[in-house]
C-alpha cells in the first residue's frame, strides 16, 4: 500500500507570530517547525504500516526552502521518502491554490491512502483535506478520532457534539486525523540519523504542469482588506484568596450584572 502524508512547516505557535508587509504569514520572524497537528497524521501512517506489515510512506510538503525541515522531522519518526514542492510563484497561495498544487503532486504519487492533519496550526482553516477530496475525486473522511485499515477499506470514528459516528469507505481515500488519534512518537537517535539518508525529491510547478499565474498571492480568490493587532487585554485585578476569594469574586460578578 502506498501512503502519502501531508506535512506543513509552520511558524511555532510559542513564538510571536505576525504578518509580513504583503499580508502573508511572516515565516522569517519566528522559528518554523513541523505542524504539531501533522505529527498525528505521521503517527497514524506509521501505525497503519506497522499493523499491516507492509506499506510505503511518502511525505509531501509545499513551501519555501525551510519547509524541507518538516520532511526531515517526519522522516526521523519513520517512513520512506519525501517530496518538496517549492517554487517562488507559490508564495501567498490561498487554500484553493494550495489544494490545486497538492492535488497535482498527490496524483503523481498515485497513493492508495492520503493522511493529513485536521488543520494547520498557522492558517487553521481546516479546509484543505475536503478540497483535496474534491479535486482528486477520492472519498474524504475528515476529522477522524481513530483510523483502521482492513481489506481495502478504511474505517474511521468521527466525534461530534451529538454523536460518535463510524464511517467506512473503500480505498483510495483521504483521511484527516485529529489530536484524539493518539500521541505521536518522538524520533529516536537512530531515526534522526536514518532520516538524513532517506530520499527527498524537489518538484517545481513546471514538474506538476501548473501555470505559475494560477497560484500565489496574486491569484488568491479573497483579499485581505485590513490587519490590526488586537489591543492587549487591560490588566485586571488579581487578588490572593484570603479565605473570602469566592465572595469577592461574587462581588465582581454582581458588579458586572452576571448574578
Amino acid at each position: 500500500m502506498k501512503i502519502v502524508v501531508l506535512v506543513k512547516h509552520v511558524p511555532d505557535a510559542a513564538g510571536d507570530r505576525s504578518f509580513a508587509a504583503d499580508t502573508t504569514t511572516d515565516r522569517a520572524a519566528v522559528d518554523g517547525r513541523l505542524s504539531e497537528l501533522d505529527e498525528y497524521a505521521v503517527e497514524q501512517a506509521l501505525q497503519v504500516v506497522e499493523k499491516s506489515g507492509e506499506g510505503e510512506i511518502t511525505y509531501l510538503t509545499m513551501g519555501p526552502e525551510a519547509a524541507s525541515e518538516a520532511l526531515r522531522k517526519a522522516l526521523s519518526m519513520g517512513g520512506d521518502a519525501g517530496v518538496h514542492v517549492v517554487d517562488e510563484a507559490i508564495h501567498g497561495s490561498d487554500a484553493i491554490a494550495t489544494s490545486l498544487v497538492l492535488a497535482a503532486a498527490i496524483s503523481k504519487l498515485e497513493p492508495d491512502l492520503v493522511i493529513c492533519g485536521m488543520a494547520s496550526t498557522d492558517g487553521t482553516m481546516s479546509v484543505v483535506p475536503a478540497m483535496l477530496s474534491e479535486r482528486l475525486g477520492i472519498t474524504g473522511l475528515t476529522l477522524a478520532a481513530s483510523v483502521a485499515i482492513e481489506g481495502g477499506q478504511v474505517t474511521i470514528r468521527r466525534d461530534s457534539d451529538e454523536a460518535s459516528t463510524t464511517i467506512t469507505a473503500s480505498l483510495p481515500a483521504l483521511v484527516s486525523v485529529t489530536d484524539q488519534t493518539g500521541e505521536a512518537r518522538y524520533p529516536s537517535f537512530k531515526g534522526i540519523m536514518a532520516a538524513k539518508k532517506k530520499p527527498v525529491e524537489t518538484w517545481s510547478l513546471a514538474d506538476l504542469g501548473i501555470e505559475p499565474a494560477v497560484v500565489g498571492l496574486g491569484a488568491a480568490w479573497s483579499v485581505v482588506d485590513s490587519i490590526v493587532k488586537r489591543p492587549p487585554r487591560q490588566a485586571g485585578t488579581v487578588i490572593p484568596d484570603g479565605g473570602d476569594g469566592g465572595v469577592q469574586l461574587a462581588d465582581f460578578l454582581s458588579s458586572g450584572k452576571f448574578i
Binding site: 487554500a95 464511517i167 469507505a169 490590526v228 485586571g236 469574586l249 461574587a250
Partner: protein, 317 residues
C-alpha cells in the same frame, strides 16, 4: 435584490441560534433564503420566518443523513444552481466548514472561514494567530462562501412568511462513497450549548479528576452556564472531548469566561481570548491566564469555587 443563501444548522428541525444570526447578516447583503437539509422542516419554519427568510429551499432525502457531509454539498449546490445567490453563509462548525470547502472547489468560488462578523460590503472579520490579530477580508472571485462563528451578531427579528421550495437532488458517486455504519448518540447535558452560551465555566488539570468537575458543574448551573474543559482535562478523560475549548476544540466568545485550574497555554487562549470578560482561579500567581483576566483569584479552586457557588445561591435568594 439577489438572494443570499443561509445553510440552516439544526438538529431534527430545532434551529440553532447561529442560523438566526446568519439570517440577520444575510439581510445586510441581500434577500435571505434558507437552505434546509434533512428532516424536521415543520419545527424549523416558524423560526426561519421570524428571522426573515423569504424562501426556504428544502431537501429531505435520506441521503442527507446517511452519508458523510458530501451529500449535503450536492444538495446545497443544487440550490445554488437554482437561486444564483450573491453569497452563501454557513455556520463555522467542522461540518459547515467542510461543506464550504467542497462547495468552493465545485463552484470555483473564494472562501472565508471562521468569520466573527460580515458587514454590508461583504467584508468578513476574522481572528488570526490565536486571536492576536483581527483581519478584514473579502472574497473577490465567484460566489462568496463565508463560514461564520456563533455569537457573530445579535439576531434581529423580521417577520416573513417564507415560500417553501422543494428541491430534488442528484447525488454524485463520490458523495455516497463514505457510508455511515454506526451512530452512537451522546448524552445531553441539559446545559446551554458551549459555543452559544453567554457564560462558560471551564476546568483544567487543576480540577484533578472527573469527580472534581462536579464543583465546576455546580458553578455553571448556578450561573446558567455551559461547562468547558482544557485539553489536559479532556485528554485525561475527566470531561468529554466535545467540551474542550481551544485550538483543537471549540472556540467560544461568551460574555463571561471563568477558567478554573487552567494555566492559559496559547492553544487554550486561541479558543477563549475573545471572551468579553475573563475570570481566572488558579493557585499559581504566575499562571499566564492571569494576563488575560479581568478578575483573578490566586487560590485553591476547591475553596474558591464552592464559596462562589454558595454566594451566588444566597444573592439570587
Amino acid at each position: 435584490m439577489a438572494e443570499v443563501l443561509v445553510l440552516v444548522d439544526h438538529l431534527d428541525g430545532s434551529v440553532r441560534k447561529t442560523t438566526t444570526e446568519l439570517l440577520t447578516i444575510a439581510r445586510r447583503l441581500g434577500e435571505p433564503s434558507a437552505v434546509f437539509l434533512g428532516a424536521g422542516l415543520d419545527n424549523a419554519l416558524e423560526t426561519l420566518g421570524r428571522f426573515g427568510a423569504e424562501k426556504v429551499y428544502v431537501v429531505a432525502d435520506a441521503e442527507i443523513d446517511g452519508y458523510l457531509i458530501a451529500t449535503k454539498t450536492d444538495a446545497l449546490l443544487t440550490v445554488v444552481a437554482q437561486a444564483s445567490p450573491s453569497a452563501i453563509l454557513i455556520t463555522s462548525t467542522s461540518e459547515g466548514k467542510e461543506i464550504a470547502a467542497r462547495a468552493s472547489i465545485r463552484l470555483g468560488s473564494g472562501i472565508i472561514t471562521d468569520a466573527s462578523d460580515v458587514d454590508e460590503n461583504g467584508i468578513a472579520t476574522q481572528s488570526a494567530f490565536a486571536a492576536s490579530y483581527i483581519i478584514g477580508s473579502k472574497v473577490t472571485h465567484g460566489t462568496p462562501i463565508i463560514t461564520v462563528k456563533p455569537n457573530a451578531t445579535a439576531p434581529i427579528e423580521n417577520l416573513t412568511t417564507p415560500a417553501v421550495v422543494q428541491v430534488s437532488v442528484e447525488y454524485g458517486a463520490l458523495s455516497t462513497s463514505a457510508r455511515i455504519t454506526d451512530v452512537a448518540p451522546r448524552a445531553k447535558s441539559g446545559r446551554p450549548d458551549l459555543t452559544e452560551a453567554a457564560i462558560v465555566v471551564s476546568g483544567g488539570r487543576g480540577v484533578g479528576g472527573a469527580e472534581g468537575f462536579t464543583v465546576i458543574e455546580a458553578l455553571a448551573d448556578a450561573l446558567g452556564a455551559a461547562v468547558g474543559a482544557s485539553r489536559a482535562a479532556a485528554d485525561a478523560g475527566w470531561y468529554p472531548h466535545a467540551f474542550q475549548v481551544g485550538q483543537t476544540g471549540k472556540t467560544v466568545s461568551p460574555q463571561l469566561y471563568i477558567a478554573n485550574g487552567i494555566s492559559g497555554a496559547i492553544q487554550h487562549r486561541a479558543g477563549m481570548q475573545t471572551s468579553k470578560t475573563i475570570v481566572a482561579v488558579n493557585k499559581d500567581s504566575e499562571a499566564p491566564i492571569f494576563e488575560l483576566a479581568d478578575f483573578g483569584v490566586v487560590g485553591d479552586l476547591f475553596a474558591v469555587v464552592p464559596q462562589l457557588t454558595e454566594e451566588i445561591g444566597k444573592r439570587k435568594g
